[in-house]
Symmetry: C2
């Protein structure tokens, strides 16, 4: 199956499937609102992401079906001699295709894209409630050298 998977920048037509995937998740169902029409906040976020050259919303597709999503943010920092970093966030795959390499395909795409953009580092945080996700990222070469701290505002 993997050979037929296309990874590409998301379009507005993908947004409904993306929100459905985010909501169909043990943590996501507590915090997303998958309704028709979609809450306007999702559309506003989509516009803000796609109009920013340092943000890319990326989907994995099988034919016309969106089966995975991630967002990549490219950030210039003064640290590391003024190096750019890529940050991956919001990685989800469709429940129907889990364990079939979609996540690997997405992250591999992100690593290649970050390299193309001249980033010296690619980073992400993963919820400690998702031990499988941690092992997945470690298999791809990521090292859990940092604590990821959050504060709700």
């Amino acid at each position: 199956m993997e050979t037929n998977i296309e990874v590409r920048i998301a379009t507005k037509n993908d947004l409904d499937c993306i929100v459905a995937m985010l909501a169909d998740d043990v943590l996501g169902r507590k915090r997303e609102r998958y309704e028709h029409p979609l809450p306007d906040s999702y559309l506003q976020a989509f516009e803000a992401i796609t109009s920013d050259p340092n943000n890319e919303l990326v989907v994995a597709c099988l034919g016309n079906e969106v089966i995975g999503v991630q967002q990549i943010t490219f950030t210039p920092y003064i640290t590391h001699q003024g190096g750019w970093r890529a940050t991956i966030e919001g990685v989800r795959t469709s429940a129907s295709v889990r364990g079939q390499g979609i996540g690997t395909k997405l992250i591999t795409w992100a690593i290649q894209r970050a390299t193309q953009r001249g980033c010296h580092l690619i980073q992400l945080t993963t919820d400690k409630e998702r031990p499988d996700a941690l092992r997945f990222y470690e298999r791809l070469g990521f090292q859990a050298t940092h604590e990821g701290l959050k504060l709700r505002l």
Copy 2:
């Protein structure tokens, strides 16, 4: 002393002091190059940060002296119903003033700024080699709910 500290957006004149602070650090000395003239990569990063409305380089000053620095990135995400987040990175205080509340002043400023910008969450990662930093952020209300993973490119 704390009452005389000003926290503000950095200007190009601050860049030399910022790089000196980043280099004067147990982890920073391995990866920064504090030379005169400053390596051009620092200037390029400074321009990239200050020309991006979603990035702010922030300094703490005592009179004319720069004694602290941090960078805040504001990012729109599809997750959390299209919510914006603030990410803090590259927090350093001058060795001469450590333990005098400069870090607290910087992070408090970042939290206020993120609230002003409508962010629902403020986040950061801290190296597991800096246990004091972890306790510092936890005292300010941050929770280490996530693993922070990095991959060098």
